[in-house]
Assembly symmetry: C2
Homo-oligomer: 227 residues x 2
């Protein structure tokens, strides 16, 4: 079991998040990677409601995850995946097509899919009910849908984006889980099956259970505003 | 001069784009990287107006850049920067803090700044005049402004994000140039100076001149719709 208080790898995560964010916070990515590669890690939990001032020195936006590996500090979930993947094997270190494909698809998740899913989250969740969001949603869903159709074509009959399971799949499955909530995979069965292949992996299951393990004990007495 | 028709590195770019996109297409990133590291590259130009069907087999969204390096094919500008940076020295290969910082800031450009600048481009350019865009713009500009304030604080008095100039600066400067057009750097002098430090580099100047070199010869007789 990778969680080990004495491990050299440390993942910073939130001690509690509101229900809508449960299971979707981005420390899930390095946790999942560590589980897949059997890399022990320790947790450092901070408040999502009142981010500590000192934390912005380590992570410029006050977001999670932040990862330490011995003396090395790294932030942005994509960067943590690259670092951990090189360490544990989910990103081939040898300079060849296998490495190039994993890097291409990892960056595709962050640069070509997540910006649109991020905006869909704004429209469907954070700004829900605002006039601009109501007006914006159909066009955004259509544009994202076209992008997802291309992704489904590119995935073709493969199980994973870059042949073998890799950090690219950790990136893309965690991105696509968010659009699954909005029904965008209902008409895209190959993408839906791809996400499910990711979610049934024991490493994913352990990672998500560990992410939410401390939430009940740390829930505020009253739900905070504006989190 | 890195452009060399016999070079093993190939960068796919557009033969022409409309004026608003001139100097902002993302093949600028690997071109700039190649210039900085004196890596010769050849160009492969395709139509932006009618993307060739075969091209979607190489780049799932039909976008540029796509890069070949001998037998290796790679897409997404961030992935091309990582590949080229490791080859030529703008991303340290040794596993240490220098590498981790470059990776963190490179992914920060793509995951934490570009999604918001991308949406600002939608609001201020592509969907300009639509009701949702008019309603959306103030909140988006405010949110992006807060993010940029954090970035300015994090950059502090350094010239470059990860101490030495790196692929992280190629990523971040090319992202920030787009918000400069919208005036968002006018009140953020350290970020404005940072972008200028990038833009005055001879490698940037050569890269952008090479990017637009073929446009005049390939301009369509009549401006196309919907590009």
């Amino acid at each position: 079991m990778p969680i080990d208080p004495h491990a050299p790898i440390e993942i910073t995560a939130f001690e509690w998040v509101p229900p809508f964010a449960e299971g979707f916070v981005r420390d899930l990515r390095p946790r999942w990677a560590c589980e897949e590669m059997d890399l022990p890690y320790r947790e450092r939990l901070i408040s999502a409601i009142k981010r500590p001032d000192w934390y912005f020195e380590e992570q410029p936006w006050g977001q999670v995850p932040h990862v330490r590996d011995g003396e090395i500090a790294i932030f942005e979930s994509g960067a943590t995946l690259i670092h951990l993947g090189e360490k544990g094997g989910l990103l081939p270190r040898e300079n060849g097509q296998a490495r190039a494909s994993v890097l291409s698809w990892t960056l595709a998740a962050f640069s070509s899919i997540e910006p649109m899913t991020f905006e869909l989250g704004n429209v469907a969740l954070f700004s829900r009910g605002e006039e601009w969001a109501t007006l914006r949603k159909p066009g955004l869903v259509a544009a994202l849908g076209k992008r997802l159709d291309r992704l489904e074509t590119a995935l073709d009959a493969r199980d994973w984006l870059a042949d073998a399971f890799s950090i690219a799949d950790i990136a893309m499955v965690t991105v696509l889980r968010e659009v699954a909530r909005e029904g965008l995979l209902d008409t895209r069965p190959r993408l839906a099956a791809y996400v499910e292949r990711g979610e049934v992996r024991p490493a994913f299951q352990t990672a998500i259970a560990d992410q939410i393990r401390h939430f009940a004990a740390n829930a505020p007495a009253r739900a905070p505003q504006g989190v």
